[in-house]
Symmetry: C2
Subunit: 306 residues, 2 copies
């Protein structure tokens, strides 16, 4: 096999209570990448469609992630990468993670899988480091492993994959505003009250328990964030209205996707997810704010060969 | 049935990362109680052996818990209670919880179970309120439900029971010193760093995942507490040495039981648990500190009729 085409799914990080540790993988929203073996060693990014991004390997997240992988395994050939972006940069659903993870996943396939998907996370994280200055796994882990992922520890890296309950759907609305990750981080406080922290880790425990037992109500009861969401949500127009609309249309829970500005809602079954989408759209239609909307099953497989 | 004898197990609350939300139930360490129907309405505590505790219903945790239950269901008879204490007060393994939970569990049996075990928690919590000023469920929940319990929320009460992996054992050493709960609480800080809080909820998630998947190593990797243990452990003589001895003898994890002074270690299999006990005892023997030692399987059944 000399060429492979891969689907690089979008992801939702943080998931309310799970700030900096939890993420999930989306179905049917994602980029496509073609990775091709070349006789010449090294990495060339030959084509990027759908976004204006650097073609220089060292300045592109996909290039940097694959470089990290090639340092660990030194094949006697090189790679060419084509990227077809569908996930908008800065949307808060893991655009850079999709490219970083896609590059290492595709090349690993062409190399006949010397690395497990879990082992690929560390390489993909180097792409995230280039994108945000921080080698985090919140998005690359669910993109590679699918379902839900818990980053128990970043150093040493300890990632737990949790299968998604079969009927779990996500609705994601992306208001077309620019919200810089750096701004979203600057509103955070360095300290939190012990009381809020206890509430938060009770909810993280509840969410994990709800996922293992496929208890949708428990998942819903656990999807709260009293630490980060109150600070960040003010940066997102209509956040409270969108969330209210989601709950009134059957959402189990709703919150900020990643560092925003996208807002997600989880629900049981496709019909609920579609109703939530309608209700969310109506809110932004009312205030004439342009948006993109996605209705997706949670993707338990993750990254896949097309 | 007019009389019942119940086993009221000891419990470990907090469990390192799970401060204020997690607990587990112990086997073969606990009190016994006899609950008897009486023609006369009301509650009489007729006998307490093994401890000096008030016989007045309103001043005894068992009495207060049962009073709360009788307010919710008004039987046309009363109850007599005998308490045989084996769990030492102030040991940090749920002495008051065992009595509070035992009273409502036994009376519920005599009433032919109008309440589920989960519903009994709220009544037993009233005993904890008398004991510590705080109606918490950390110990009464595992005493009643067995296994591990997660108190996702106290208000409204939301408790999740998690089955214990079959080979999980606890070793508990109780140094014979007095450590008041109020002192153990006064060393806590009202605020914690966001960074530590994230580490903690990553570990809570890891511990819950480890329990559901019976992944003993993951349970071990998750049993850390960088928020409360560093503050409280200085109140417990030889804490660091005991913990080190436990790890060197095969412990998956080790920490403060409840608010101390008991120290627990979890391990896989009875032999490890016994080796850990020997190593812990050797530490206190060396410094001539009297102690009690317990080796118990985690008790997945909880409170039981004898």
């Amino acid at each position: 096999m000399n060429e492979i085409k891969v689907f690089c799914p979008a992801t939702i990080a943080n998931l309310s209570c799970g700030f900096d540790v939890l993420g999930l993988c989306l179905d049917n929203v994602g980029d496509e990448m073609i990775i091709r073996k070349t006789e010449e060693k090294g990495i060339k990014i030959t084509k990027i469609e759908g976004a204006t991004l650097p073609l220089e390997t060292e300045k592109n997240v996909a290039g940097v992630a694959l470089l990290a992988m090639l340092e660990a395994t030194k094949p006697d050939f090189g790679f060419e990468i084509e990227i077809y972006k569908h996930i908008k940069a800065g949307s808060g659903i893991g655009s850079s993670a999709a490219s970083s993870a896609g590059a290492v996943f595709g090349a690993n396939e062409l190399l006949r899988n010397p690395f497990t998907r879990k082992e690929l996370v560390q390489f993909a994280m180097q792409g995230e480091k280039l994108a945000s200055g921080n080698a985090h796994a919140d998005n690359v882990a669910p993109a590679l492993l699918g379902g839900f992922t818990l980053v128990r520890s970043s150093n040493p890296l300890d990632i737990i994959k949790i299968k998604s309950p079969d009927l779990l759907y996500a609705t994601v609305i992306h208001p077309q505003i620019e919200l810089k990750t750096s701004d979203a981080r600057s509103v955070l406080k360095q300290n939190v009250s012990l009381k809020s922290a206890i509430t938060q880790w009770g909810n993280v425990g509840g969410l994990i328990a709800g996922l293992y037992t496929e208890d949708y109500d428990l998942i819903g009861r656990s999807l709260h964030d009293e630490i980060v969401e109150p600070l960040r949500s003010v940066l997102i127009p209509g956040f409270d209205l969108i969330k209210k609309a989601a709950y009134e249309s059957g959402a189990l829970g709703s919150g900020i996707s990643g560092s925003g500005p996208s807002i997600f809602a989880l629900s049981k079954g496709k019909e609920n997810a579609q109703n939530i989408a309608k209700a969310m759209c109506a809110v932004y239609d009312e205030i004439h704010l342009p948006y993109e909307i996605h209705v997706c099953k949670v993707n338990d497989e993750g990254m896949r060969v097309l």
